[in-house]
């Protein structure tokens, strides 16, 4: 699995891995039951250290997105579509909180902020 990782980011390699694998799972690119690359394989393919991938997988396991089976490796967990949506929503909330609050602090009204989000969506 090739991820798009960069050293020129304020986000650590570990959380870049977590975010990109999570996105693949939530978007349905990785279906439940599908096996994930081994920790060492993913580390090699993406030129990151083994521990970085190990910690990223541990975090995804805590989120319930993946699970491991002894000697068989890691697999995408069964996630209900409703749960997927909830997870994605939760994630979006976490990521938007800071910029939205910053915007409000700089004087933007609720309407202004909603219009920015509408603009982002209409650009797709």
């Amino acid at each position: 699995m090739l991820l798009n990782l960069t050293d020129l980011s304020d986000e650590s390699l570990q959380s870049q891995i977590i975010r990109q694998v999570r996105a693949k799972i939530l978007a349905g690119n990785l279906e439940s039951g599908i096996s994930l690359p081994s920790i060492r394989g993913l580390a090699k393919d993406n030129r990151v250290s083994v521990i970085t991938v190990q910690r990223a997988y541990e975090s995804l396991m805590r989120e319930g997105l993946i699970h491991s089976r002894r000697r068989k490796g890691f697999f995408v967990s069964e996630i209900k579509d409703t749960d997927k949506k909830e997870l994605a929503k939760q994630k979006l909330l976490e990521e938007l909180e800071r910029p939205v609050r910053a915007g409000a602090a700089e004087g933007l009204s609720k309407q202004d902020i909603l219009s920015v989000i509408k603009k982002i969506l209409s650009e797709d």
Partner: protein, 289 residues
């Protein structure tokens, strides 16, 4: 699990330098970056591990076997690329390889050819005619040809151009995949090993000062800027501090701790950014030098 390296209470004394007493171990499958200024004792550690010099006290084990100079069994598990590349200068690269082959039952010619191709190393050239980059590559092939379980690399990429450096690092990533190999990699160019290393060990003046998982360090260190009027008492976990009027900037070894402290103090406009492993290393070593 048998450790790839197990160093116990080792001391090595020279007239003007003392390494240790120190303990260090490394698990199979892991890469440990061995970091320190020139003269800290990085190469001495390597020389002790390879049996080139004998320690005054303590013990060193390679995959469970003590590295006694009069025995050879532990040497089969070891590959070493030193700071000096010693070849038979009038012989070709190929002839140098053939000589070493005799000492290693595990030697693989196909691995040699594979690496030579990949590194574009001219095997028919005499060692004395090889460029400094190609000398490093020949050393690496000599060290890797018997598929050692432990690689000791002493600043292996110094003198390499960026393309050659990437080829070497790519090779290291690949040999790690099977999970049984370990690498002790000494360097002061941290950007080289920023991605490869699992753990970092810092050596200053012959003493091991910090040993940490890389991700733990990068997750806890931050540069923090903020504004504050009036005198500031000591800030928790800050290791360096600069100020210009109401603007303050610090480097924190534990940003959560520092942020908490700053919020309680009433600092304004607090911003934090990550630090590169190079920046973190400088701060760690500066403190002890």
């Amino acid at each position: 699990m048998t450790k790839a390296i197990e160093i116990k209470e080792v001391i090595k004394t020279y007239p003007d330098f003392k390494l240790g007493p120190f303990n260090l171990d490394l698990e199979p499958g892991k890469v440990l970056a061995y970091i320190g200024p020139n003269g800290a004792g990085k190469s001495t550690t390597m020389h002790c591990l390879t049996g080139l010099v004998e320690v005054d006290q303590g013990s060193m084990k390679i995959f469970g076997k003590e590295n006694k100079p009069d025995r050879t069994d532990w040497k089969f598990d070891l590959g070493y690329v030193g700071d000096v590349h010693v070849f038979y200068e009038k012989w070709t690269a190929e002839e140098n390889l053939k000589l070493l082959k005799k000492f290693y039952p595990n030697w693989s010619d196909s691995l040699v050819n594979n690496l030579a191709d990949r590194f574009r190393l001219p095997l028919k050239k005499k060692a004395k005619d090889l460029s400094s980059g190609n000398r490093v590559k020949l050393s690496l092939i000599l060290a890797l040809a018997h598929s050692p379980k432990l690689l000791l690399l002493d600043e292996p990429t110094s003198g390499l151009d960026p393309v050659a450096r990437k080829e070497v690092l790519d090779t290291l990533f690949e040999i790690l995949e099977d999970g049984n190999r370990a690498i002790l990699y000494s360097t002061h160019v941290l950007s080289d090993i920023e991605r490869l290393a699992d753990e970092l060990a810092f050596l200053v003046d012959g003493q091991l000062i910090v040993r940490n998982e890389k991700d733990e360090l990068t997750e806890s260190w931050r540069r923090i800027s903020f504004q504050f009027k009036g005198p500031l008492a000591g800030i928790s976990s800050a290791v360096s501090y600069t100020a210009d009027d109401v603007d303050h900037q610090i480097i924190s070894r534990n940003y959560k701790d520092t942020m908490h402290h700053l919020q309680e103090t009433g600092a304004q406009n607090i911003h934090k950014t990550r630090l590169s492993i190079d920046e973190i290393a400088v701060e760690i070593m500066k403190e002890k030098m």
